[in-house]
Symmetry: C2
Subunit: 567 residues, 2 copies
Amino acid sequence: MRLSALFVRTQRETPAEAEVRSHELLLRAGHIRRVTSGVYAFLPLGLRVLRRVEEIVRSEMDAAGAQEVLLPVLMPRELWERTGRWEAYGPNLFRLADRKGAEYCLGPTHEELITTVVRNEYGSYRDLPVNLYQIQTKFRDELRPRSGLIRAREFLMKDAYSFDVDRAGMRVSYAAMVKAYRAIFDRCGLDYRVVEAQAGEIGGDVNHEFMALSAIGEDLFVSCDTCEYAANVEAAEARAAEVVELADSEVEPLEEVHTPGVPGIDEVAAFLGRDAGELLKCLFYMAGDTPIAVLVPGDREVNEFKLSRTIGEQALRMFGPEDFEARPNFVLGYAGPQGMRAAGVRVLADSRVRARANWVTGANRADHHATGVRIGRDFEIDDWADLANVHDGDRCPRCEGGRLVVGRSIEVGHTFQLGTRYSVPLGANFVDADGAQRPMLMGCYGIGVSRIMAAVAEQHNDEAGLCWPGSVAPAGVHLVPLGKDALVEAESVYSRLADEGIVALVDDREASAGVKFADADLMGCPIQVILGKKLREGLVEIKDRATGERTDVGVGDLSRFLRERLG
Amino acid sequence: MRLSALFVRTQRETPAEAEVRSHELLLRAGHIRRVTSGVYAFLPLGLRVLRRVEEIVRSEMDAAGAQEVLLPVLMPRELWERTGRWEAYGPNLFRLADRKGAEYCLGPTHEELITTVVRNEYGSYRDLPVNLYQIQTKFRDELRPRSGLIRAREFLMKDAYSFDVDRAGMRVSYAAMVKAYRAIFDRCGLDYRVVEAQAGEIGGDVNHEFMALSAIGEDLFVSCDTCEYAANVEAAEARAAEVVELADSEVEPLEEVHTPGVPGIDEVAAFLGRDAGELLKCLFYMAGDTPIAVLVPGDREVNEFKLSRTIGEQALRMFGPEDFEARPNFVLGYAGPQGMRAAGVRVLADSRVRARANWVTGANRADHHATGVRIGRDFEIDDWADLANVHDGDRCPRCEGGRLVVGRSIEVGHTFQLGTRYSVPLGANFVDADGAQRPMLMGCYGIGVSRIMAAVAEQHNDEAGLCWPGSVAPAGVHLVPLGKDALVEAESVYSRLADEGIVALVDDREASAGVKFADADLMGCPIQVILGKKLREGLVEIKDRATGERTDVGVGDLSRFLRERLG
């Protein structure tokens, strides 16, 4: 690629639309251009990076035995009706009608369609397992598209779907995909964690997120500072707190205190001169038709995913003002668990509530709190469970001595054990060896191909620009000739490299050394070859873009040197 | 690819949905599956063919100096408003609104967007020329999707756009694309013609269609049986007819004949015992606000593209019943050119009208025709032009002695010299060497990648199935082992071929020889290697799928043999 002809124009200034560093650099280095909110065009350099990521994904999927197919973007409404997702997907789904009024969505994911395709072709246990994938443009009408390619509305994804005869087979297929994903992210040069996650709108049981570490990431996750444990904040488990046995001397008397006009936890704590962690937070929910009280320490938040899991299938909603109005004994802002169980309320407590003998709670009376409130003596618990978010510094649930650290990350992959979530409503059955009809067991596996590109850019840059890893760089080598003689030599090197299959950029423009150096740094190819004054001595200067390290190499040794460096 | 695991199931019966042979075979050979009207899924074998066509297109585009980009599917309405195409494209455009009510179309073509992208990056004559292309899923809400991939609503296209400083440059860019297109279609194994065409909704001047010959094609075109001339029927030129000089004896007298209740050309000819070619067809149009009469021989059709070109910018519409009612002298079914010019009607005649001295025309009186009607004596012509369709057997407009042949074809490519059709409304200007702002001169170049796949299938098949050319076949070799020993040998051949980069299918299923042979013929890989009884003698049988030719080859010579045959 010759910069004199390449369709790329770099920018020195930060574009107004740039929200994060990767977005800024991909724009400034002429890799992408915004078309409309969350919709981008890939220019030649950006497309090369995208295609190289795509090729890494494809080769690892093929190596794992998955087979590539290509499903359409347009999907009929009926198909999505059958799984209930036409409604459930809500406004994130782009919907349209054709000239005859038939309705379609633009696929954000393809469970419905692939399940139908497999159902139509396969019907025997002998046909399975099979794992099909595609690399395709996806659409999602995000409420707030942002950070360039990281949260776009039109984006490139790899999605794969496995079909097995039983759960054991599903887990084997799943494990093969997790292994392939690790290989993909390793090859792309990403620093990432495999994180246990809760199920979202895709449904199913076990699932993992592949999180690229980044301070600008939208997703919080926790990892142990000692062992391999990692989970997203919603799924992260607490270590069951030990029961605290108290000496009599530590037992505080139950007292009621006047706390006028301070209904918030932090305000009450400040008013009473206590830590928020000494207060007991008591929140009310409706679980189906039954009111429940949920207790967590005052410095924790209720985790509604965990709460949902605890109460099972029932619909969950927090008390609204009308629920309080209907129950005058429940005093908004001044509620406590005292007497609740007797009043027919199911009381659920986070296991951390065991760790303290005396609590400050609401007194179930406006403008009053109670201190010295004690489990067993003053209130009772129906069920203990893990109901609160973990915090930075919590003890690891898996290992002794480990502490959890909260970090930010960008989700670049997600794998799900779906079970029969789609095969049952869509009738994807097979006849088993015993002659019985059974639903296929499915897994699904997504990778954000264009998002990987942005995540790599986010992790690999410095003040001067992008620092692409060799595996995904638009070119392995950036040739920077300074002067006319140097240009002749650069053209000769360029041809030799092309013959050896090494893609290079050559800056054959009539531009100053300053402009050429700045653009080379901005575009971020891993190795710069500067052909300057030392050419008279038969030497070129090599600059490693990422480390800044410089080495002089003889012109005759250049090919060998580059081959070795590019692996 | 091992057939025991490959996601493919063949069908012996013709699917009800199959309309043409290629469609039937692509379905039966498990290459594609229909999702909804005009929307298809590509299964592994079909996707391999599609990707191989795509790679041929990409390599020739790159070799021609075009640069690959990737534009989005979603395009904002505003952009299409600016060129008037939001309205003009009509119901063929898929339209949708996002969650905030902003409107988009799904790109059927990308002139608007690419012109905007180039305008934003480039502004000097020094930047040009540039030619950008993409290979991307396109959408067109066809009224009647049909013939499988040949007329689909979601399809894969390569579209390219060139930008030049002047018309001479545009023509150079255009010629490079025509050359690349020829190379692409040659490599795909298509029998095709490059055909002069009229401009459609894309606009612009010179354009060519690349037509794959096929009896099931929707597009008629003519070609000369002697020289290289070819054009689609709408654009095909007539050879200017010589003026016929008649002896007095040949002059028929003008007579009026009673022709009650026979207003049609064919009916009048039969009634009078004449050929349709002896009658003069006289049709009325409104050209803007002016009525015009158009004369063509009775055995020809008026070509409205040619008529539009002749009358220039004015809006053209044929007379409706209300136009005849408003003008009692114009007798529907019995009109003739006599006296029309005097009545203020502009009379246009096809040049073929010169070739006959005496005509039968309407007598401008209900139920009456006139015979012996003569140009000059009985009616006058304002303008002569080429206004009728050419017919099979017409003389070639370019060479002496050549005759035109009408054929059917599938349009697989289309190239346009657009001029400033898009650069002016979208403001894609550049500063020229003299400091003046000028609009860029554009060309655009489309290839139907998925349609090529269907056209190749349409041209390359026989009673037993597909006969893919080696360049686009899903695999070069189909290994057919018969029996267990043969399977072991086949696996060994399969591995050796894979090491040499030759992709093979191996039929490792427990199936009868009949099933294996039938599937191999249906799937259509160019070379079948049958490992059967002769294996004891160290021989395998090679079957050339297209010719049916069979050759015995020693196992040890197989790799070399296949390498040579696959080029």
